[in-house]
Subunit: 129 residues, 2 copies
DNA sequence: GCAACATTGACATCACCGTGCTAATGTCTG
DNA sequence: CAGACATTAGCACGGTGATGTCAATGTTGC
């Protein structure tokens, strides 16, 4: 048991090309251990990882770079915090749900601003500078 | 009080160009309410949002698309789960911390696989297919 | 030792991101 | 009304992501 495949074999069984396997390693996702002479050795773990990665990308239409960013998010706490903080500030239109009740208060914001702005659909009072 | 700025004014006070303000809106981050005639109206909230966004990007060297992905992660639960699951599988080299104790078990994995592979730094036993 | 395969590096392509600029058209303001 | 500014649409361009391919060199297996 305990098969160990060369890059080409791994490519065939995972659906990636050898080129991409090297690329994937280069960008930090799924890196294979090396033989004494530098050959990449793909074990069951790596193969599994590669297959699931492939599915992940295809099923959600995201790119390797996106996963890369997810990694950064998880490893760089500061980044994670900063992004979360920004996203938490104001809700960014949940346009997934059929926008009914949503539109209402979005419209409201509209109104509020317009009301504060001018009696007629006008712009700029209390002129800046 | 309650200033409302036109796109050009907003651009000047936020550091973005008018072009970028429209782009940022197009990609779903920071969208400004419109006047009756379609003009974008930037209020204090939007301006704040734009400034912090600018900082966020510059300080962590990320792109608008990255923030966009973060939004997807937060809104599409399935995606979030899938990505998290994949990342949880095997740890992806925390190369931020000076790799000492890390290297050890990484080396181990190496050894384990090599041991299973061949007595000499060799490859492929129990040949596949 | 020779054929098959691996490694790295480079060049090439296509698509998309981030931006600027221009054009055609509509809006606001003095 | 005229001039300043907004809107959308489109061309353009440099950068980077995702891939392929080719070259030069080393490794492996029989």
């Amino acid at each position: 048991m305990s098969e160990v495949l060369t890059i080409q074999e791994a490519a065939e069984t995972t659906g990636w090309s050898p080129r991409m396997l090297r690329y994937i390693e280069r960008v930090g996702l799924v890196e294979a251990p090396r033989s004494g002479s530098g050959y990449r050795l793909y074990g069951a773990a790596e193969l599994q990882r590669l297959r699931t990665l492939r599915e992940l990308l295809h099923q959600h239409d995201i790119g390797l770079s996106d996963v890369g960013f997810a990694v950064r998010l998880r490893q760089e706490g500061v980044l994670r915090a900063a992004v979360d903080a920004w996203l938490d500030a104001e809700p960014v239109r949940p346009q997934g749900v059929s926008a009914a009740d949503w539109l209402s208060w979005e419209q409201d914001k509209h109104q509020r601003l317009l009301a504060a702005a001018a009696p007629h659909p006008n712009v700029k009072e209390t002129a800046p500078r």
